[in-house]
């Protein structure tokens, strides 16, 4: 569909009916001003300043990178250990978020219950909470002496602090709200009549969710998962507070960067670059495919 065919868009609109209407109209709205020419200067200038502000620190990292000693710094086993741990834990935290976050998002989007606004606020709280506070809160709840953690220790001999599982818990705590928000938004945009149709045709509500809703909101889930994964990869405060720092077990890349900065800034820059490269590769690789598809 080309940008200069609002007529055809309307035609598609009437053909496919309700759910596509919003999307198509939105698109034709957007093509209007774009067709009339470039961005006005009062918008373009701040936009470019904004871009420079966000990109300049990253460029500075590249400029100040110790390229010559880079190979030595990056071949150390501790770096690879930290990177491997970061990738494994961020992926595990994303998996945890998917398993419990998507149902939570569905609950928030589709079920009316008293206090839903409050629940939604609580769910998004980790987004604005300082990560260190999140770590302390996790210690109070799941630590060896915590409200729930005490029983885990007594009954199963399970303690989460200082373990890789603790890293996953800390990362999931901070990253899951991104997924929930993203999925809830997609669910609200998706038309519930498809599910209703499925249930009137004899499907159970869970089957309808699995066979109709889930495929419908898949791009939203994917976008949320990418966001959560990226957030988990960069998590620092909650991890070091809740899970501690031990190479190979709980020392993820952000922790390695922070501690390297104490006495070897060059190594810290090198490690930062690795984390940056991995993040950019994943975000760039997935963004075009998923984020704009929703």
């Amino acid at each position: 569909m080309t940008s200069s065919s609002p007529g055809r868009a309307d035609a598609t609109d009437t053909l496919t009916g309700g759910p596509r209407r919003g999307r198509v109209r939105f698109r034709s709205d957007r093509t209007g001003p774009r067709g009339r020419g470039g961005a006005p200067l009062p918008l373009l200038l701040p936009a470019l300043i904004g871009l420079a502000f966000l990109v300049l620190p990253l460029v500075a990292l590249l400029i100040r990178a110790p390229w010559r000693s880079m190979p030595d710094l990056l071949t150390s086993s501790e770096v690879w250990e930290a990177l491997r741990l970061s990738l494994v834990c961020a992926t595990a935290a994303t998996a945890v978020s998917l398993v419990i976050g998507v149902p939570l998002a569905w609950l928030l989007a589709r079920v009316e219950f008293p206090g839903r606004g409050l629940v939604r606020a609580l769910v998004t709280l980790p987004l604005v909470l300082p990560p260190v506070v999140g770590g302390v809160a996790l210690l109070m709840a799941l630590g060896r002496n915590g409200v729930v953690g005490r029983w885990l220790d007594d009954w199963f001999g399970l303690t989460l602090p200082f373990t890789t599982a603790g890293v996953v818990v800390a990362e999931a705590f901070v990253a899951m709200p991104f997924l929930v928000i993203s999925v809830e938004g997609t669910l609200r945009a998706a038309d519930p009549r498809y599910e209703e149709a499925a249930t009137t045709l004899g499907a159970s509500r869970f089957t309808a969710f699995r066979r109709v809703t889930l495929p419908l909101i898949a791009p939203g889930i994917a976008a949320g998962a990418v966001l959560a994964w990226a957030r988990a990869l960069g998590e620092f405060g909650a991890t070091i507070t809740f899970a501690g720092n031990f190479p190979g077990r709980t020392q993820t890349m952000p922790l390695a960067v922070y501690l390297a900065l104490q006495n070897d800034p060059e190594a810290a820059i090198a490690l930062s670059l690795v984390l940056l490269a991995v993040s950019i590769a994943v975000l760039a690789g997935l963004r075009d495919r998923w984020m704009t598809a929703s």
Partner: protein, 270 residues
């Protein structure tokens, strides 16, 4: 908040100016005469702000000394900034407006002197020794550094990149012990807090931290700590806008009175 406290304190000072001036004069003569001969003559006329960057472990004692200084030199105002020595040193070399720097390790002080930011040679004013912090009542019956190698214990150490971790490693090396902690913490306070929160059974921290934690932890001394004593250097900074007052503050820290305050926090004589 601290500023408003200071302001009320200053107002109280104005109302009781006569008494304060008398107190100041009588108190400053012994400390002024010790080493700061050049500032001694001007000590009556000291005024203005003194900004002191000090290692986090000096918080209790330097807060006390700051009050003593303001009392001894009416018209001065001591602003204290506490933090990790590395971060403070980075701030100073980056141009932070400080008059005095007190560091928890010679290595971080060297960052400042290498950058040419110190005025004169830094002097060691206290030393700090390591101690084992364990749960109140010492349920693990820890009596020595060797007891920490027991696999049933959760021990945390400071990371080797920070001074307390380097010192702990030195003590362990000196005694030929191999200790695998559950975590290498990013600074001494977070190592201590893991014990305070009962998440870890023991931590190797400074004597002063054990003392500051009060009855939330139990302290166990160990002889190997003598092999890893931390020196604390202090210096006036080159960029100081108030060098006279800065020198006077350093001499207060090094005076008998200053030493007494520091000893109360658990620091050792240099």
């Amino acid at each position: 908040m601290t500023r408003s406290v200071r302001r009320t304190r200053r107002m109280m000072k104005v109302t009781g100016a006569g008494a304060a001036a008398l107190l100041g004069l009588s108190a400053c003569s012994p400390s002024g005469s010790e080493s700061a001969t050049d500032s001694g003559s001007a000590s009556g006329g000291l005024s203005g702000q003194v900004t002191v960057f000090a290692a986090a472990s000096l918080k209790e004692s330097f807060t006390k000394l700051g009050k003593v200084f303001e009392k001894e030199h009416p018209g001065t105002e001591v602003t204290l900034s506490f933090g990790g020595s590395d971060a403070l040193a980075a701030g100073i070399t980056g141009g932070a407006p400080a008059d005095v720097f007190a560091s928890a390790s010679p290595r971080t002080m060297k960052v400042v002197t290498d950058a040419g930011a110190a005025s004169g040679t830094p002097v060691t004013f206290v030393r700090n020794r390591l101690e084992i912090a364990t749960l109140p009542g010492n349920p693990g019956k820890i009596a020595s550094l060797k007891d920490l190698t027991d696999s049933g214990l959760k021990v945390v150490l400071c990371d080797r990149t920070v001074p307390c971790g380097a010192a702990a490693q030195k003590a362990l090396d000196a005694s030929g012990l191999k200790l695998t902690p559950v975590s290498y913490e990013e600074d001494v306070k977070s190592a201590l807090n893991k014990v305070v929160l009962k998440e870890a059974d023991a931590a190797v921290v400074y004597r002063t931290d054990v003392q500051a934690a009060g009855d939330k932890v139990a302290g166990v001394e160990f002889p190997e700590s003598a092999d890893a004593v931390n020196d604390y250097p202090i210096t006036v900074l080159k960029e100081s806008q108030n060098a006279g007052a800065a020198k006077a503050f350093v001499s207060l820290v090094r005076s008998a009175e200053g030493r007494q305050v520091l000893a109360e926090s658990g620091f050792l004589k240099p």
